[in-house]
Symmetry: D2
Subunit: 299 residues, 4 copies
Amino acid sequence: MGEKIGFIGLGNMGHEMANNLLQSGYDLTVYNRTASKAKSLVEKGAQLVQQPAGAATPGGIIVSMVANDQVLEEIVSSQGFLAHLEPGGIHLSMSTVSPLTARELARLHEQHHSSYVAAPVFGRPDAAAARKLWICLAGPPAAKERVQPLLQAMGQGTFDFGTDPGAANIVKLCGNFLMISSMEAMAEALTLAEKSGLDRSTVVDMLTHTIFATPSYQNYGQMIAQKRHMPAGFRQSLGLKDVNLVREVAEHTSTPMPFASVLHDRMLAGIARGRGDMDWSALSLNVLEEAGLELPHSE
Amino acid sequence: MGEKIGFIGLGNMGHEMANNLLQSGYDLTVYNRTASKAKSLVEKGAQLVQQPAGAATPGGIIVSMVANDQVLEEIVSSQGFLAHLEPGGIHLSMSTVSPLTARELARLHEQHHSSYVAAPVFGRPDAAAARKLWICLAGPPAAKERVQPLLQAMGQGTFDFGTDPGAANIVKLCGNFLMISSMEAMAEALTLAEKSGLDRSTVVDMLTHTIFATPSYQNYGQMIAQKRHMPAGFRQSLGLKDVNLVREVAEHTSTPMPFASVLHDRMLAGIARGRGDMDWSALSLNVLEEAGLELPHSE
Amino acid sequence: MGEKIGFIGLGNMGHEMANNLLQSGYDLTVYNRTASKAKSLVEKGAQLVQQPAGAATPGGIIVSMVANDQVLEEIVSSQGFLAHLEPGGIHLSMSTVSPLTARELARLHEQHHSSYVAAPVFGRPDAAAARKLWICLAGPPAAKERVQPLLQAMGQGTFDFGTDPGAANIVKLCGNFLMISSMEAMAEALTLAEKSGLDRSTVVDMLTHTIFATPSYQNYGQMIAQKRHMPAGFRQSLGLKDVNLVREVAEHTSTPMPFASVLHDRMLAGIARGRGDMDWSALSLNVLEEAGLELPHSE
Amino acid sequence: MGEKIGFIGLGNMGHEMANNLLQSGYDLTVYNRTASKAKSLVEKGAQLVQQPAGAATPGGIIVSMVANDQVLEEIVSSQGFLAHLEPGGIHLSMSTVSPLTARELARLHEQHHSSYVAAPVFGRPDAAAARKLWICLAGPPAAKERVQPLLQAMGQGTFDFGTDPGAANIVKLCGNFLMISSMEAMAEALTLAEKSGLDRSTVVDMLTHTIFATPSYQNYGQMIAQKRHMPAGFRQSLGLKDVNLVREVAEHTSTPMPFASVLHDRMLAGIARGRGDMDWSALSLNVLEEAGLELPHSE
């Protein structure tokens, strides 16, 4: 029988990750704001608790996968588990949050004699289900060592970026920034092609099976070519949140990033036009509008 | 013994492509402004001529791979082979030029009872040498059919974009635009990472072996991470030329492209600071400068 | 009885300028593509000719005020007056054209033993009518001296930028660039104010009667505040032409200009959405659209 | 003998404003973090106190002119005068702060039965000394009425933007945004002119005495033309702060502002290169650098 692990945050991603831990034999205690989402996990043996603090045990490991910085701060400190984890416990924090938040939380854990391990991930829910996440890791060496088996149960590879707890989150933000940059570039290129009389799908098919033969270019390329941005894999409002995290670090480090500025203005225009709940690739619709093209009827 | 083919333009790319045609048994007549570059091809059996027109035979095929629109127009019309190709000849034009130029030249060939086949390629000189080019094709159906064997001798795959002679060039420009966009995005991301205390190579290694596992991201990513932009695989001045071709089509079709504007301003700043002969990935050096970082000594 | 002067180009601006020369006692020979526009001038004593060349006399002065570079080149060379002006004649060229065109035409005049004086102007038709134009001057000293009385009959002040014929046009382009920049800035600011619940006109009234108390800010500010961009004082398609002239010089001199890039993309989006014939201040409508605001019904 | 007034914040601006109130006969109690700056005011009869709270009297008026939002919040609440102003007192808040901060503070005052009147100003220290400030006003009608005599003692004109306490600050931010936009536009234009062989000062002289004949264009135009940005009238780091306040409102209201993005990136690059303490017009130096021009030796 496995080690007892707390797991907080059962959204699209977290649910799959928790399920994999359960399948790998861990004894799971779970918490989610909307308790009903824990149902299938409970049926498989997980124990549901009513407060974040209930998921923690002194010296144990607690995994979190929540929506944003504010929720993360809440489950840790204000109404949180921080006092219940010490001494010697580990918080394996897998959400995409600000590096500044990660550093602040790491300090807080240290004051409470526990460890904060940052481990944000790349991959969508299907990758999470298939234990195919890519994991960025940062934190105290001993704690990182101890969580290895959990990481292996959730991902296909882990990359260690040292002891600065903010480092893993910066890499995660860099990756998201590259992804949304590639979408804007494809949106502009395909609009140019369409206005030149070419078929969007034919163009993107070629480019994403030759010089850009990766799933990310292929998947988002097809969505952008076909102007289909519902249902959302990752909402544009969350995409803007991530671009704003990038800009926050840019401000903090005095790093001018003109692509980030264009992306910000683009996604903000999408929000202004009511597209916050569409997939973040829907930034492409504003490219179409600026070029004077009709949007698909469903938008 | 093979068909007689004319080949004009023996730069880094053209030389390898001509060599492959020769190896495949074609009877090659070559022309290059700097005749000395034909030496090794002549040794292998190619015939060298002193004028572009000398490479053409009535009803034959002539392949061109030259530096820019102006040179292409010169070898065709002002001092060129146009009158020597008719009737029924084919000009297989593989350079990266403006779609507007391609359309204009196609009209000109039609008036002279020959065919213009646009076939710009993706791939650097090593890919050309290995017959691994990706080819974008557009032009009259019969002519495209007739040049198939030549394309197979030079590339690993051909994608047909119909009869508009400008279409193939638009796809080529879209591809180059995606590539230089990915470089700017990596340059901004790695500068953000460096100013946050991370190691550039470690970051790019992870990202280009997980979510962006393509040679283009890997190769340019390493150059940008290591701040090495010499020797140039493709010069920044040529990169700016291609961005300007993109902008020309954008203007012609009323397609606003803010990423193209950022890239233009970025590369123009590189030219202004004397970096036109460095690799086009050297746009990254201006990202470093804006962030107040020191450039490597060699720059 | 005054000196005999040729005048080519009787658009909104040229008509008023020619009229002032006539009122000042000059003996005017006029040419316009649409001859009917010369009617009221002919009634006041001007002589109408059917070809540009007819407006020129050897050693005389010819004034031109035409729509763009291409028309200017046509009236001078291909079908033009160049051969009829020599020896010793002067072409007082008052249109807004590229500095590169100005330099090229100056060379051409020199070869034909006449002088090209560049004298583009600031001011709208009402300022032209009131002899209130501001004039940028460049060219050969003796020729500049000789045209002084004409300039005084058309403007309220002349600024001499030396002998480079392109210099006056660069100053003119700089001025237009400042004007359209101020419009984009006002459009963004007033949209921010509107979305914050403020009244656009009240805000612009204050700002343009305190820190920006100039007619240009006041007039364009009111148009932008009230979302009224018809009838066009200066069409957006011409505004884009001028921004493109700025960008041409920027390219030629390796000067990155990010504001010019934003303005280009903004006005191109206006053209793409069918607003080329509205006033150039209509770039503001695209700012509104991006912010998700409704456009006025008349647009 | 005049009404008793508290005044907090004796920087370059506040000192002159306080002095004018004193000259107009008000009985002034002053507070400043660095008490020595109150010296000359005390010599003229002002009373110096050691805490912000000491400047407040129940039902009285307190004027504040401080550096940023954080300081304003501190003097009001955490260590502040809020509890000492009620009932019926007025806080006349003249600093440039976020409209969100203004709204929050207005709520806080209301809870404490006092009034928050927002009254940010346009003008530099010399304008403050000459009672020539332009004042943006917003707040509860009765309170605005009561502070009229004070406003007349400090400015040359007041513009009322209603009861939303954030409104006055939005207008102030719009004005600063227009000013810094005009500086970027001039910097780009003059660099284009310089690279074309023209003299920067001659160009700016013409433009700012004809189509842009306002002190703001003239003063900043000369600084930019002559590349003189020390001593700072308003530091670039504060300019960036204001642009960031603009962007905060833009985010809050979903208003894409591409000029604000360019300005942000430009000024952040200036900070990155160590120019935060130069005048905000020093954003021009980064325009020069991007164009490959040498900076003046003193930079």
